[in-house]
Every structure is written in C-alpha cells, then in structure tokens.
Amino acid sequence: MQGKLRIKAVYVVVLIGALLAIFLIFRLWTGNVKEPASFGFGKTATASEIAAVDFDIRPDGKGLPAGSGTADTGRLIYIAKCASCHGENGKEVKGIKLPGPPLVTGTAKSKAKTIGNYWPYATTLFDYLKRTMPYNAPGSLTDNEVYSLTAYLLSANKVIKENAIINAQSLPNVVMPAKKLFVIDDRKGGNEVK
C-alpha cells in the first residue's frame, strides 16, 4: 500500500516538474517576456528644462505669456522685419511672387488664403510668429513684439479694431472669420469617396 502511494507521489512530482519545464521552455522559445511597468531609461525633466522649450499656445490661451501689443507698434515691426518677404502691406500683388505668402485679405478678386479669410484661430498667429519668424532669424522676436505683430496683422485683416490691445486675456477671445468654415475630417475608408 505504502509503496504504491510513494510511486504515485513520485509520479505526480515528475508530472508537475515536466509541465513546469515545458512552460519555461515555451516562454523562452516564444520570447514572450512581459514588459516591465518601467524600464528606468531616461531622466526626469526639470521644470526649468521644460519651460525653456515649452512655449506653444492653445486656442484657449494656455501658454500665452505676460506682455501686450498694439497694431501701431506692430506696423513698425512689420515694416522692419516682415515686409521684405510679405510685401509692404501683406496683400497679394498680381503678377509679383513674393518670397513669403500674402497675409492680409486684399480685393474681392484675390483668391489668396490669408489670416483674415482662412485662419480659424487667432492664437495660432502668436504661436507661429514666435516659433518661426522672421525667416532669417527665427525665434528672435520678444513676446511684446509678437503681441504687437499679432495685433497689426489682425487689424490689417479688419478682424480687430485698430486701437485694440492684444494680450493673454484678449487674444483667445478674438473670433476669426474663417472659424465657422472648418469641419473635422469624416473620411472613414470603405466603399465611399469623400
């Protein structure tokens, strides 16, 4: 009786061992090792490291810095730093291809896409001017210069009044004429041309 039980116990142990071995071999064979929650590569970024590169602006105004500007000041900056590429007043001139695109809505005949007739958000102006302009010295404008240029371009496009002050509070409230035209892509594949 005892001998039989011992044999049974050995049998069970061997069976469990064999199953475990098969499982481990299978895991090694498939390389199916679960990824850890964290690999620990990379370093924590400090607040000042983030602040040095994080100057994007959202439509709700998140990211807009202190400071302000007006169209009058902006016009002087425009003439000094922008007009050589975008033209004296930013409008399309028939027959002349300027290095930069037109920015200001011109006559009814002009089909040029401008800030006044095509840009859906005013905050985009601040964000884009600050990160890329002027073309020959990107990122060189001060926040006040960017506010003033933004004010000038919005005023030239007749989106805001000439004497309006543009700052972190007023800019997100500017409603752009083209905003109502924008719709989110609804193509989904399948047998339908959209």
């Binding site: 370093k43 840009w119 859906p120 985009t124 719709v183 594949g189």
Partner: protein, 412 residues
Amino acid sequence: MEEPNEEPAKKGNKISRRKLLGGALAAAIVPVTASFAKYVQTGVEVSVDPTKVQGVPPGTVGKRSPFENPLRKPSDISSRTPLQDFFSTITPSDLHFERHHAGIPNIDSEKYELLIHGMVKRPMKFTLADLKLFPSFTRTCFIECAGNFRTGKEEMTPQEILGLTSQSEWTGVMLSTLLREVGVDPKAKWFLAEGGDAALLTRSIPIEKGWDDAMIVYGQNGEAIRPAQGYPARLLLPGWEGNTNVKWIRRIEISDEPYMTREETSKYTYPVNGKIRMFSFEMDARSIITYPSFPQKVERGWIEIRGIAWSGRGKIVKVEVSTDAGKSWNVAKLQEPVLEKAHTYFRFLWQWTGGETEILSRAVDETGYIQPSLKQLIEARGADLGGYHMNPVTAWRIKRDGSVLFKPEKYK
C-alpha cells in the same frame, strides 16, 4: 508638402530610358560623347573589355554603377523621388523624397534629447542612447506628402506627378512604450509633436495613434536615419499624411485638446463643398503605373505594366489595370508579401498590338475603398478641390509610335 498652387513641374527629361541604356552601352566602347556626358557621370573610366583587366579593389563605402544615375528633382521646398527608376518598393535612403519647412537642421546626436511632458505622471527626457535601450521594432511603410499630386501637361514623369511618396524599413521604439514610461494621464486626448528644425514644426496628434502604431524611429533601411528624413529621430505615424511624421522630433506634450497649429489650420486643410476639412490624417488608397511612363517608348508585343499601389488604411487587396482607357479592368499580380500601409508592387502582362490607347491603374484596399476618378472626387468634394489628399486614378496615353504621354486632367 508643397504649396498646392505651385506651378506644374518643369519640362521632363526628354531622353528615354532605352536611349540612355543604349548610350551607356555605346559609352563602353567609345569615349563618352558630349551629348551623353549630361546624363552619364563624367570621369567614368571606360575599359575596353572588363574580362581583360583587374577591377576596382574593395572599399569603405559603395557607390552606384556609373551607368546608373537616378536623381531626385528638387524645388526650393521639396525634392521628388524618381519612382520610374525603382524595381521594387524600398526607396534607397539617398533618394527618399524631401519636404522641409526650414531646411535640414544639423543636429548633434550627442546633444539630442526627446522631452515628453504635459499630462504625465513624470515628465522625462531621453537621449538618443536612451531611446536605443528600449525594446526596438522594425516595420516597412510608406510616407507620403498630403499634397502629392501634380498634373497639367502631357510631358510629365511619375516622379513629377507623384514623387512625394517613399518607402523605408524604419526601426525605433514604439511610442506606446515611451507613453507607458512617462505615465500618461488617462484623460489625455491629444499630443503635440514638435521638430527641432528652424520651423519648430508642430502638429497635434490624437493620443489613440500614439497607443496604436506610432513610433519614434532612429533607423532607416538598416542604418541611422538620414538628416533629410529626421536624424537623429523622427515621429513615424504609419499611413498618415507626411507632415504629421514630425522629423527631428525634440518634444512631445500630452494634452486634452489640439493646439490648432499653423500646419493643421492654414495648411494641410482643404475645401470640401464650401467648408474646410481639417485633421485629415489617413492617406487614402492610390496607385500609379511607373512602367511604361513618359518619356519611355514601347514597342509592339509583350509589355509588363508595372507600378505601385498603397493605402494609409491597411493592406492593398487588389489593383486593377485597364489597357482600353477604362472600358474594362484586369486584376494585376501583387508582389508578396503585401504589407499594411506600404507601397505594394503590381504587374500586369499585356500584349500591345500597336493601336492608340490609354492605360490606367486603380487600387482597392482592405476597407473596400476603391481609388476614385477625378470626376468622383469633384462630385464628392466640389469643384474647388485644393491640393491636399488628391488621389485620382491617372492614365498614360500610348501613341501609335510607341511614345507614352501623361493624360492631364484639368480640375481648377
């Protein structure tokens, strides 16, 4: 991507491939003549009989045969890949199309860092060496500029019509791995991707794409990614318009809203029935016949029609070829393996009897989408089409004398 209203590409290279090859053969016997010097690299040593002299010894870096000279076609803002010169779907890295918004930055890989911050548990920065420590992944897919379509005249090559698409084997880390590492807030909906060039180019991307198949890639066709393609690392969003695959990526900010950057509002948007469509990410299925094409010439008899088809929504399941101006369609052979969101090579054997005709191709992807005609696109979107996400079926005219011309269709 190029400005949609840019002028159609300038006059095509008028010398035919056959002539060029003939010229190369002649050059092997006689010194390179002045007329061929333009097309065959000068300074080629012409040996009388390569079986009678010792060849060039092994070297550190290989180069193309002096009898082959595939070139991109550059403009101020982009360069087009020579689709007609490729025999399969991988684009040689030095011929990958380019589109830059402020030129190619010179980035020191030792100083490079990718910052991920915003709605995360722990904002982090990763050096290039850090990125390479994470589990790596390799996939082959295309990147295509959203404005990849030119028409306007008969003398246009595949390069001039559709040369803003290229395919590489990309290697890097899945973005999802990095998102887990920083601990993304479950409430996050978008992320902003920012490049480290003088344009500091930014695009807002739905976070689902980040969890799905987005990658941060540092390898291209087995070696370090080329500067023109984003060295030392770029964002890869398989199947999505080229502009969202931000090159030289330096920063990812996790957010609950899109940023409405210049590139996703005043650019990369297009008119649809009086409205303006935005966040148009997936590249719909399309195809082009690359042989025969302008300025090649064909002769009566068997012609293997060849080309590429691709879809940003998955696999190509069928390519149909018409050799009778679209009256009837035949199923082309697809080169296996057919990969998701990848250029797929197709071939169709045709016997040309010498009559004037038009040859066309149309792609079908696994969602059931059938590449539309220009007419269908106009019906769906209105006559004012803009230049982005235009993927119409294109045709080549075969003339009686064997010359091949593009069939330009006016739409503006």
